[in-house]
């Protein structure tokens, strides 16, 4: 591989790795949001159960 090919490959790799890192960050954020939604759903269910027992 010539130096020119190496540097060109490196430049394209940088863009690809950055995109991949962004997708990973978004995936981690989505997982957190999913956890938050299920936590809030549990809270609402608990509340409904308490209100159901009271009523």
């Amino acid at each position: 591989m010539s130096p020119s090919e190496k540097y060109t490959a490196a430049a394209y790799l940088v863009v690809f790795v950055a995109l991949l890192a962004y997708v990973l960050i978004i995936a981690a954020k989505l997982q957190r949001l999913e956890r938050d939604v299920s936590e809030l759903t549990d809270k609402v269910r608990d509340r409904q159960r308490v209100h159901g027992t009271d009523g």
Partner: protein
């Protein structure tokens, strides 16, 4: 992005993948190898569109900042922030791919004598400071006002960065587009460049919509949590 808003995110991502795929195919199988620079010239097809996209991000962020100051729309503040965040991501890629291209073309990773490089770095650091400002002030109208004014000031650097290449004396940086000579490349190269630029702009639109959706969802969840507390 008024036109983009009507397109759903999966469709936008599909278009982005198609455009970037076509760009890569054109770069490596259609565009001719440059007689002077050889294969390393192919960095141009990603480096320059990424630079133009980062300018578009900062411009879009400034437009949203103006909308916030004008209409007092809180959504515009978040949209401005997300656009500037995207601009910094694309800006980092401009600096990284530019450094690699400089090393193979000029033999150095960075040249302080090149006005284009230095002005782009100033623009990049200016927008880095935007985040320091945003996170050092409590959320609210005061923070939104300050950030909007800062984003509007920063956009002045965009035309300076773009035209620096034309006014700088030592033409170390290649001048591909000029008013007097048109574009200094073949039709095949220009077509490839246009497809790559379209791909990068679509990538910005996709990432912008994705990040915005995440931020809005986050805000709604925070509000819901407060209501349930």
């Amino acid at each position: 992005m008024p036109g983009v808003k009507a397109i759903r995110l999966p469709q936008l991502v599909g278009l982005t993948i198609a455009a970037l795929g076509a760009a890569i195919a054109l770069i490596f199988f259609y565009a001719p190898i440059d007689a002077n620079q050889g294969l390393s010239q192919k960095i141009f097809y990603f480096h320059v569109p990424i630079a133009f996209t980062s300018y578009a991000c900062f411009g879009w962020g400034a437009w949203k900042a103006l909308r916030y100051l004008w209409k007092r729309d809180e959504r515009a503040d978040l949209e401005s922030y997300v656009a500037i965040h995207q601009g910094l991501i694309f800006g980092s890629l401009v600096l990284l791919t530019g450094s690699i291209w400089a090393k193979i073309s000029w033999g150095v990773w960075w040249a302080w004598s090149d006005d284009q490089l230095v002005i782009f770095l100033v623009l990049f650091l200016f927008y880095c400071a935007y985040f320091m400002l945003r996170y050092s002030v409590d959320p609210g109208p005061a923070r939104s006002n300050m950030c909007a004014v800062y984003a509007l000031f920063g956009v002045v650097l965009v035309p300076m960065s773009f035209f620096a290449i034309r006014i700088s004396k030592p033409f170390l940086h290649p001048q591909v587009f000029s008013a007097s000579h048109g574009y200094a490349m073949t039709g095949a190269m220009f077509f490839t460049f246009c497809v790559a630029l379209l791909g990068m702009l679509l990538l910005f639109a996709s990432l912008y919509q994705l990040e915005l959706a995440g931020k809005r969802l986050d805000a709604h969840l925070r509000e819901l949590r407060e209501l349930l507390a």
